[in-house]
Point group: C2
């Protein structure tokens, strides 16, 4: 599941120009023979069909990384932010983290006999999706707090990894970590090879993502920004621990995304990638400034290979942001027409 | 003020092993001639006297970065965290950020005639340090909120940079950004060259530090963790901005440091560096676990070249953490005896 090695995918000229950004000691090690190879072109985005979306990405990267370009951006300013659910991996029929919470409620139910008579726990145990939907965000928050708090950060990490190792997606019958979009993995590798620092900026829980993002996306924990609960430092049996409290610390969604980006990165991105109205402000924050910028929205148009939804469907919402895309010149990438493959196994 | 280039200071064997951590494409570029040079030893810590502190640092780095060592730590786990005030730069006679706040009150006073009659603003304007000291943390917070909020993040960054360009330290009569400890700059460069990711974890305001840490320490904004005010996303005249609100978001001090580290990095450090009781929990969080770890405290023992203070002096507090150092095997580096130079200009 690790993204392809950049050198295997991007054109060699790109590799050489990336290496040129490394410390002098490294740059001087480039032998003439390697420079000679630099003319071989290898497609960095093989799972993207020819079209406007693919062209916009390639043009943007060339314009911002070619030192002779008027739109050149210094390497330290090459920040790219990616939403996770629906942008890098599947978010249907429900958010993966919600599936995790429901499974955790069922696993923890024997220790909580009162849940059999208390909503939304009763509905979670019984798989009563109608009642769960009616319980709304407030109900979801109750389930999250009951299942995501009350343990140390180290314990929670193990719970997440155990669950991911065993859980299977209902439609694809595969581990969730295989349901990541192959074209987006190629895009991550391409940006990385051209000197971009990649951050995930997700409404999902930061500690639900960090245990696996490095392995799956090549994005290390310190480059993952997400929602969080409060934690508390404690010495337990002589060992320092952080206890997860059932209290919201930060919601990294909507207008919270620019706030989270600023808190964690301290620089404005020059490229941002999302798929829903929750990404609107991140895309605005990134693109509505001077200088060459890229905003891209993944449009779920492929009911066969993945799911088809937008606007105000029950499954997700891409409404205001879809209109804003047209107004702001953001790229709308259609899964059906822009992607040769959706998943690596297809 | 940029730290010395790693290649100029560290021994070449270290450089070669660091390069080995870079992507395969780079590693294969290492020519045989460079490998042959790897035996030349260059002292990575020339401003550190021979002694226990220096030896502990060198031993720790060798033990954790030599692949044949039983204490070897994989590169992605090599996280080192540094306090800022008093650990990397001067914090006397008052925190630099406090000096900034006082200057800002004076600069803003004409727009706030009511401050002439309101404490602690009156004391700030008049330089009445006794009244300021009596106003305590609550008074300081009032000054911070009045001077650090009410503008956009971009505006605040410019205010900080303007101030730093003109302000001079009362004892040394130099810009504050020159009052960084030369031995610590060497340590940062050494750790960077041996594959460590370096983070600043300071009680100071994160947006007070980020405008200059890359230039002065080689630590980019996304690796700076600090205290913060809340911010709010707004579209102003068609442009997205983050407005700084007069409300505390996070205090990155004491037991807040492990919390901040976990929120931003998502991994436990293996080395931590501080100088006061505010760093106690960060050092505990880092070192009181299995595996080879390094905790180090900078001890301000040099009243001549810098300042001498510890325990419960009016100038700063290193009390509980100094006792904990002895109990936990943390290194206590004495400015007077362990450092050949304190500042680059000495």
């Amino acid at each position: 599941m690790r993204p392809v090695t950049p050198s295997a995918r991007v054109n060699r000229r790109t590799v050489v120009s990336t290496l040129a950004l490394l410390p002098v000691a490294t740059a001087t090690l480039l032998s003439a023979s390697v420079r000679a190879e630099a003319t071989t072109e290898i497609d960095p985005l093989p799972s993207w069909n020819e079209g406007a979306a693919r062209k916009a990405i390639l043009d943007f990267v060339r314009a911002t990384t070619d030192a002779s370009s008027p739109d050149f951006v210094a390497p330290e300013q090459r920040i790219a932010t990616f939403d996770n659910d629906g942008t890098l991996w599947v978010e249907q029929p429900i958010y993966t983290q919600f599936a995790f919470a429901l499974d955790r409620v069922r696993a923890m139910a024997p220790m909580h006999p009162e849940w059999k008579e208390t909503q939304p726990f009763k509905a979670a145990i019984e798989g009563d999706t109608k009642t769960l939907a009616d319980a709304g965000e407030r109900g979801l928050l109750k389930l999250i707090m009951a299942t995501h708090a009350g343990m140390t950060t180290d314990e929670f990490q193990n719970i997440v990894l155990d669950w991911l190792a065993n859980a299977r997606h209902p439609k694809f019958q595969r581990p969730y970590t295989e349901l990541v979009y192959q074209p987006m993995l190629e895009l991550l590798a391409y940006l990385r090879a051209t000197g971009f620092k990649i951050f995930i900026v997700s409404g999902g829980g930061v500690e639900f993502m960090r245990p696996w993002t490095d392995k799956v996306y090549g994005v290390p924990p310190e480059r993952v920004i997400g929602s969080s609960v409060k934690t508390q430092f404690e010495i337990r049996d002589g060992r320092p621990e952080l206890l997860r409290l059932p209290e919201v610390n930060f919601i990294d969604d909507g207008a919270g995304k620019p706030v989270g980006i600023n808190e964690h990165i301290g620089r404005r991105p020059i490229a941002a990638f999302g798929n829903s109205d929750g990404d609107l402000q991140m895309l605005e924050w990134t693109t509505k400034v001077d200088g060459r910028r890229l905003g891209l929205i993944v449009h779920h148009t492929d009911g066969e290979r993945e799911y088809a939804y937008d606007r105000r469907s029950a499954m997700g919402r891409l409404d205001v942001a879809l209109d804003a895309a047209a107004a702001n010149g953001w790229v709308v990438a259609s899964m059906k027409s822009d992607w040769k493959r959706v998943f690596s196994f297809q």
